[in-house]
């Protein structure tokens, strides 16, 4: 079965949260206000690495309007957090390891008083050497950042005989690629309010990607029963992975419990930059060999990731990079080694793409360089080496068959032909145009041997709606749209018949995190499991009340219908009537729990469901200044059937924009452990003028014969293969290979104008 469709907004329906968003009526959690609220502020370290000799809060406590000043001694439970390993102190006691480290927190009548109180807290530090590169951290004799040492995680993978592979190669390419520290730059910074409840518990109104995980972590550090903590966590003004880990929840919670009043914290942009996660900077060295016919033979990879001061999901991100180091290519001889290293550079952690963006930039760079050496068309070279639908996964493990790799190569080739036709030659002789392509493969879900359970709940609500509940969060990605669309698909019901419940641990089932492109997939799987029993329960109730046989009935708009021998079914019973419970009737509720599909092979972190994408980029490179203007950025994505067309389109378009920023301008520059870009005047993200005005998104919906896994998520894949497509386009335009992001204009003009006089000078007229 072949299916593909160019996505346009016209073929879509609007999102359920849309009207409230465009009218400004939607209250984000940082918009809520509660009476008698105090304002919280967190004191962060003045140094990236230091001993804390003393900490005195007396003066701050005495400031009128201050209600509480808390430090490490006030943490009743574990003084630490971290999704896997709680090694990030809630409050540092004797040592700070990054400028984001917290030392104290204040609750006061106003934000201004809280700010003043922070300035009155006296901290005596003794500065320690700043380990601001993984190399420094790994040096012998370097101070140890954690008891276990400076190495957070190591992962290897090997196959075949690497030396034999290189020995047989006709061409070998070796290059080191460097990737920057990208910031999520969600428009809404972290924050919200924690409200103490009468029963001694708390309600946390703060965004996160996994409410239950926050609840678990908060219970651990508050030494409180999980049942006493309610987390209301949606909607959010963006997250992209950045709000997956705890941020200011612990401080607001501790302050609220101490003062017995609601405490609001909403980080300023500068606080957010200093304390927030970033994408891992990586240095990736690849040596790749192919034979004369362009068949890949050997691939050796060395990855060093700068994970910053604490673990969070650093190990899993490295695992992901190692897993995708050979990506969608079949290479017989592999040797991959990855290291994730602690430094004093903030904290790196989860970010849309999860290590895939870094490794794909390097991998696709290798493919383009090898194709050039072999004088092969870059796509032809890829065609000779990409996986077939039933080939094993990149770690040699069994995965769900998927024909995506070959299909996206085909699609991008067509796109290239189109764009080549349309590409105008610029007037100025120093502006050069070029086209580049890149492809990728991206695993969904958390992977083998990772707790990755999912689920869902369907019920008939008291007001007669089909109530669907998930523990997923709405970060902007449109999960509410996906749920609504799949509900309508499944039950042929009307929009008005659906009640979607998410984002509140009090009322939703545990369905796992809203990460790893798993939401769409899990909603589909849950509905597949629940639709039968739920429909039956509804029909049995109607049957009991009306005497109609369940086999003769079906669900549709507003209620239950009876099939007719001829013509349309006729309506007999409304959901509203059904909801009026009669004596002896039980509530209609169906729940399901299951695991995200994983590979049967015991490969730690190995994925099972993968998506594929190909990107075409066209650029104009100005050789006077090195400025790069991206004129086309089109993408074909193979991720199974499209659920919410507007959501799918938006994820790929938006992912492309974020990745364009990663390629051309974004870097949270640090010097000796200090951020140099603390707001949007120096940390630049793309503006409207930096993006092409339109992007072609091609959805390749084809799945392998008999595939039973349904639609895959596309939250990440749109960001993965963009950078190498753009840098290849730059090469096409001016012959400069870029191996470091963001693209250095200086490198472009220095390389393009080698030998002093600018090339364009003598050869051209204006």
């Amino acid at each position: 079965m072949e299916a593909k469709s160019p996505l346009t907004a016209q073929t879509t329906s609007i999102r359920p949260d849309g009207v409230e968003k465009v009218t400004g009526q939607l209250s984000y959690l940082t918009d809520l206000s509660f009476s008698a609220t105090l304002y919280g502020k967190v004191l962060r370290s003045a140094f990236p690495h230091a001993k804390v000799l003393s900490l005195c809060t007396k003066e701050a406590e005495n400031l009128p309007g201050v209600h509480a000043v808390l430090t490490a001694k006030d943490v009743p439970g574990v003084n630490g957090y971290g999704i896997i390993e709680p090694d990030q102190p809630v409050f540092c006691e004797d040592r700070v390891r990054s400028v984001g480290d917290a030392l104290a927190a204040v609750a006061a009548d106003s934000k201004e008083i809280a700010e003043r109180a922070l300035r009155l807290i006296k901290v005596e530090y003794e500065e320690l050497p700043v380990l601001d590169t993984p190399e420094k951290s790994l040096q012998e004799g370097a101070p140890l950042l954690h008891e276990k040492g400076n190495q957070l995680h190591e992962r290897t993978h090997a196959n075949g005989d690497i030396e034999a592979g290189f020995a047989a190669a006709a061409v070998i390419e070796e290059e080191t690629y460097q990737l920057p520290r990208q910031m999520h730059a969600y428009m809404e910074t972290e924050g919200g309010t924690v409200v103490p409840e009468a029963d001694g518990g708390i309600t946390v109104y703060m965004g996160t990607q996994h409410g239950f995980k926050d609840r678990f972590q908060l219970a651990r550090l508050l030494n409180m029963d999980e049942d006493n903590i309610r987390v209301v966590s949606s909607p959010m003004g963006g997250s992209f992975g950045g709000k997956d880990e705890l941020n200011v929840q612990p401080y607001a919670a501790l302050l609220a419990l101490k003062t017995k009043r609601p405490v609001k914290i909403h980080q300023s942009r500068e606080e957010s930059v200093k304390a927030g996660l970033k994408r891992h900077p990586m240095k990736i060295t690849m040596k790749t060999g192919a034979d004369q016919d362009g068949n890949l033979l050997a691939h050796q990879v060395e990855i060093v990731a700068d994970t910053g001061a604490y673990s969070t999901l650093g190990p899993a991100i490295l695992d992901f990079a190692v897993e995708h180091a050979a990506g969608l290519y079949i290479i017989p001889h592999l040797k991959i080694h990855g290291l994730s290293v602690f430094t004093n550079n903030g904290v790196a952690g989860e970010f849309r793409g999860f290590g895939g963006n870094q490794i794909t930039f390097a991998l696709e760079g290798q493919m383009d360089r090898l194709a050039k050496k072999l004088a092969l068309d870059p796509l032809e070279f890829r065609r000779r080496n990409v996986r077939a639908a039933t080939d094993p996964g990149p770690l040699g493990h069994r995965i769900a068959p998927h024909p995506g790799a070959e299909l996206v190569v085909e699609e991008v080739e067509k796109m290239r032909t189109e764009v080549k036709k349309e590409q105008a030659s610029p007037q100025e002789p120093w502006v050069k145009t070029g086209i580049g392509t890149a492809i990728c493969m991206h695993g969904g879900g958390l992977g083998y041997n990772r707790l990755d359970s999912a689920g869902g709940q369907l019920a008939l609500s008291e007001d007669g709606r089909l109530e669907i509940s998930f523990g997923f969060e709405e970060v902007g990605q449109g999960i509410v749209s996906v749920i609504e669309t799949l509900m309508i698909d499944t039950f042929s019901c009307a929009k008005e018949d659906i009640k979607t419940v998410i984002g509140d641990t009090e009322v939703v089932p545990k369905t796992g995190s809203t990460t790893a492109s798993r939401g769409t997939s899990m909603v589909w799987h849950a509905l597949e499991r629940m639709k039968g029993p739920f429909t039956l329960q509804l029909l049995e109730r109607v049957s009991k009340r009306t005497g109609q046989s369940t086999d003769a009935m079906l669900l549709a708009k507003n209620g239950v219908y009876v099939r007719a021998e001829e013509g349309a079914p006729h309506y007999i019973y409304s959901y509203k009537e059904l909801a009026q419970q009669e004596p002896g009737e039980d509530p209609i509720v169906v729940t399901t729990e299951f695991e995200f599909p994983t590979t049967p092979d015991p490969v730690d972190g190995g994925h099972f469901l993968y998506t594929f994408s190909s990107v075409l980029a066209a650029v104009q490179v100005n050789l006077l200044t090195g400025q790069v203007k991206v004129t086309s950025l089109d993408q074909a994505v193979a991720a199974g059937p499209v659920v919410s067309r507007l959501g799918y389109l938006g994820q790929i378009e938006g992912g492309s924009g974020m990745a364009l920023g990663y390629t051309l301008m974004e870097d949270a520059v640090m010097e000796e452990g200090e951020y140099q870009t603390v707001n949007f005047d120096s940390y630049l993200i793309p503006g409207i003028g930096d993006m092409p005005a339109s992007i072609e998104v091609e959805a390749v919906e084809t799945l392998a014969e008999g595939d039973s896994y349904g639609p895959r998520g596309v939250g990440e894949i749109g960001t993965v293969a963009v950078a190498p497509a753009i840098t290849k386009a730059i090469h096409d335009a001016c012959g400069v290979w870029v191996s470091k992001l963001p693209v250095s204009r200086e490198t472009i003009i220095e390389s393009a104008n080698k030998g002093g006089a600018p090339k364009w000078l003598s050869t051209s007229k204006v």
């Binding site: 907004a9 879509t12 609007i14 999102r15 949260d17 849309g18 009207v19 409230e20 968003k21 465009v22 009218t23 400004g24 009526q25 939607l26 209250s27 984000y28 918009d31 206000s33 999520h184 730059a185 969600y186 428009m187 809404e188 910074t189 909607p235 959010m236 003004g237 963006g238 992209f240 909403h266 300023s268 942009r269 970060v475 902007g476 990605q477 449109g478 507007l646 389109l649 938006g650 378009e653 938006g654 992912g655 492309s656 924009g657 974020m658 364009l660 707001n679 949007f680 005047d681 993200i685 793309p686 503006g687 409207i688 003028g689 993006m691 092409p692 005005a693 339109s694 992007i695």
Partner: protein, 172 residues
């Protein structure tokens, strides 16, 4: 601090520190608010008037999330001070369309996917409205110029381009 007591009101030649009554119009209704003259407009809107449709994100005029209109012109409410608003007319997103009757710009954003998380959207819509008011049929370049101060992290701006095109079509 010595203060000249003879000129103490905002309307008069001078002013004193501390709070005073500020009066200005918000979405067509006259409001009286107590604030110091250097309080930011965004703080007044969000915290005093509970108009939280106007967002805060960078607080230095570099993202546009707090964009509102003052006397019909687009401004950053984080860069505008209370005394500058005295006697002026402010329009926020709450003054543009309603849940039941959307403004054409809002309708276009809905139809074309001009937003995702929605946090930049109120400011973005104020900027698009300011654009089409002045240029009913803007070129691509004019759209880019007009929206240069409004950052969006979700859409890649392509949905916003489509929304503007739809507004232009609907209005013509």
């Amino acid at each position: 601090m010595a203060v000249n007591k003879q000129s103490v009101t905002v309307q008069e030649p001078g002013s004193v520190p501390g709070e005073r009554t500020l009066s200005f119009s918000v979405n067509g209704r006259w409001q009286k608010v107590n604030a110091t003259p250097t309080t930011r407009l965004v703080t007044i809107l969000r915290e005093e008037l509970q108009l939280t449709g106007t967002k805060i994100s960078c607080e230095i005029g570099r993202c546009g999330a707090c964009s509102v209109w003052m006397d019909g012109e687009l401004i950053n409410s984080c860069l505008t001070l209370a005394y500058q608003v005295e006697g002026r007319e402010i329009t926020t997103i709450e003054g543009v369309g309603t849940l039941d009757k959307l403004d054409p710009v809002q309708e276009a954003f809905l139809q074309e996917g001009g937003f995702q998380c929605g946090y930049c959207t109120p400011g973005m819509i104020m900027a698009v409205k300011a654009l089409v008011k002045e240029r009913p049929d803007p070129s691509e370049e004019e759209v880019e110029e007009a929206l240069a101060g409004n950052l969006c992290r979700c859409t890649g701006y392509t949905g916003i381009h489509r929304a503007v095109q739809r507004v232009v079509k609907d209005l013509s």
